[in-house]
């Protein structure tokens, strides 16, 4: 893996950058590298981003210089540059109406019908780039430019749990009721986060997701 940057984030974390642009294959490398680094002694937490991995480590168990060597070694291994099989998870969605108050906007913004928005949103398979914002919230893409839409200028105070939204060329799902600025086009009943489960989220970074239209009645 070329062009790897390792940057310091304080005295117990490093940020490993594999690139600087949002790209499905670059992001897949992030997850492959995460798998390689999972077993490194002293690494206590690995957080994937779009093009980065945050590694939090315990310097008492793994010295900084030794950590850098291990990251470089892992990055050079064959497994870290190959795309492995990932899980494909289907998410049933009720589009439009009370469940998707912004579906009309997304259609109008792009000059297509709501049926076309649904058809495109359910046709493509999305990669979970990372989880963040709230427990279990997946940032996914890349969304077809025909259904891309800007965030709300003023975020809503309350977006219901399960809301499926679009922001730019990403799509996401709100695991719980929260404030939010994504354009909401539908809703799912699937539970995305459960603190009593291990792991606590339905989706994990690196998974692939397909939305399924189940009608809105």
């Amino acid at each position: 893996m070329n062009d790897l940057n390792i940057r310091v984030m304080g005295d117990a974390a490093v940020l490993v950058e594999v690139g600087e642009t949002l790209d499905v294959s670059l992001n897949a490398r992030v997850h492959a590298l995460a798998r390689e680094l999972d077993q490194v002694r002293g690494v206590v937490s690995i957080v994937p981003g779009y093009t980065t991995l945050l590694l939090e480590y315990d310097p008492a168990l793994c010295e900084y210089d030794a950590l850098l060597q291990q990251i470089l070694r892992a990055a050079e291994s064959r497994a870290a540059s190959s795309i492995q099989d990932t899980r494909l998870i289907e998410i049933p969605v009720r589009y439009g109406g009370e469940f998707g108050p912004d579906l009309e906007f997304v259609a109008q913004h792009n000059g297509i019908s709501v049926e076309q928005v649904i058809a495109i949103h359910t046709r493509d398979i999305y990669q979970v780039f990372m989880l963040g914002f709230a427990p279990g919230f997946p940032y996914m893409g890349i969304v077809n430019e025909k259904i891309a839409a800007p965030r709300l200028e003023t975020p809503r105070q309350r977006v219901p749990a399960g809301s499926v939204g679009i922001a730019g060329r990403q799509t996401g799902i709100y695991p719980r009721e929260s404030p939010g600025g994504w354009r909401v086009i539908g809703r799912t009943d699937v539970k995305l986060f459960d603190a009593q489960s291990e792991p606590p989220t339905l989706l994990r970074a690196g998974d692939r997701v397909k939305f399924v239209n189940v009608g809105n009645s």
Binding site: G10, V47, Y50, E56, M130, G136
Partner: protein, 308 residues
């Protein structure tokens, strides 16, 4: 066994936080001042991981439902048991029905009350910490309220021999030091030029009153940055984000797991407790250090929680 008579504001069960769940979007959480929480547990001979009550406001009042040994560490609240003032940073014996009360603090923001053996709350995702925003962990996922009863762990020993134990002077000296907060520059070096870094080191910042468990907000200078945002990446506690308005935010215990603001520098672990205890309007300045010195400073913290 303790009964909460008055909870005060934002009083929660905390420990040293959740490790390894940030990849799922779960905040690390845990004590705003992990050093003081460790100190409270050390006073009683508890495990460093045991749960304690984090007190962030005056007006917190508890009653002992049976005799017990508790410890207090952190912010210098005026604490009384009955009418008798008791010192912070010590362990003390309480008789059944005695009432312990927190009044205004002379210094600091967060104090910890631990009980010999630790409080009995369920571990959720490997930790006792209350994830308040997400409603799980600690005591039913919420802040403590009047009427709540906290049990000791079943394994708890009575530990009368711990009563009267004190922390060494090194503990209070750590907090009263007016030394700058030490940082390592990075990770987003390419978003800030030398002038911005110099400005950052030269400025005497003030902590804002809107600081909370998510972040310590600073004002006093506009740190110039390139206008574009970084692609969101995982972030760690102590990272100093610079939003478009140029007013830095130091990420604290309940920070979101990912962020899209460029990070000019990161506070070293050894200085996070001292920063977390700063109140609104207190001055903060930063000093650049090295990885080696940062790790040495972390190891030296053990001296602060030595019990006499």
């Amino acid at each position: 066994m303790l009964e909460i008579l008055e909870a005060g504001l934002f009083t929660t069960i905390q420990d040293l936080g959740r490790e390894g769940y940030q990849q799922f979007g779960v905040t690390r959480g845990g004590a705003m001042d992990p050093l003081a929480l460790r100190a409270a547990n050390a006073l009683l001979g508890n495990d460093a991981q045991d749960a304690a009550i984090e007190i962030a406001s005056p007006g917190f009042i508890v009653r002992a439902l049976e005799k017990c040994v508790v410890s207090l560490a952190g912010a210098e609240f005026a604490v009384r048991v009955g009418e008798r003032f008791v010192p912070m940073n010590s362990a003390l014996f309480m008789r059944a029905d005695e009432v312990l009360r927190f009044d205004a603090a002379a210094r600091g923001r967060y104090a910890y009350l631990a009980v010999a053996g630790g409080f009995e709350v369920p571990k959720v995702l490997g930790s006792y910490a209350t994830a308040l925003r997400d409603g799980f962990g600690g005591f039913g996922g919420r802040a403590l309220q009047a009427g709540d009863v906290l049990q000791n762990q079943a394994r708890a020993a009575f530990a009368i021999e711990r009563a009267g134990k004190m922390l060494s002077r090194a503990f209070t000296n750590y907090y009263t030091s007016d030394a700058p907060i030490r940082i390592l520059f990075g990770p987003h070096d390419n978003f800030f030029d030398n002038a911005a870094r110099e400005n950052f080191l030269r400025t005497e910042f003030f902590t804002s009153e809107i600081s909370d468990r998510m972040g310590t907000r600073l004002f006093g200078a506009n740190i110039a940055r390139k206008t574009e945002e970084v692609l969101s990446c995982g972030v760690t506690r102590g990272a100093i984000q610079v939003p478009p308005d140029g007013q830095p935010i130091v990420l604290q215990a309940d920070h979101q797991t990912t962020g899209g603001y460029p990070i000019i520098a990161t506070v070293i672990r050894a200085d996070i407790p001292r920063l977390a205890q700063k109140r609104a309007g207190e001055r903060v300045s930063f000093q650049s250090t090295t990885m080696e010195k940062a790790h040495a400073a972390w190891n030296e913290l053990d001296e602060c929680i030595r019990v006499t």
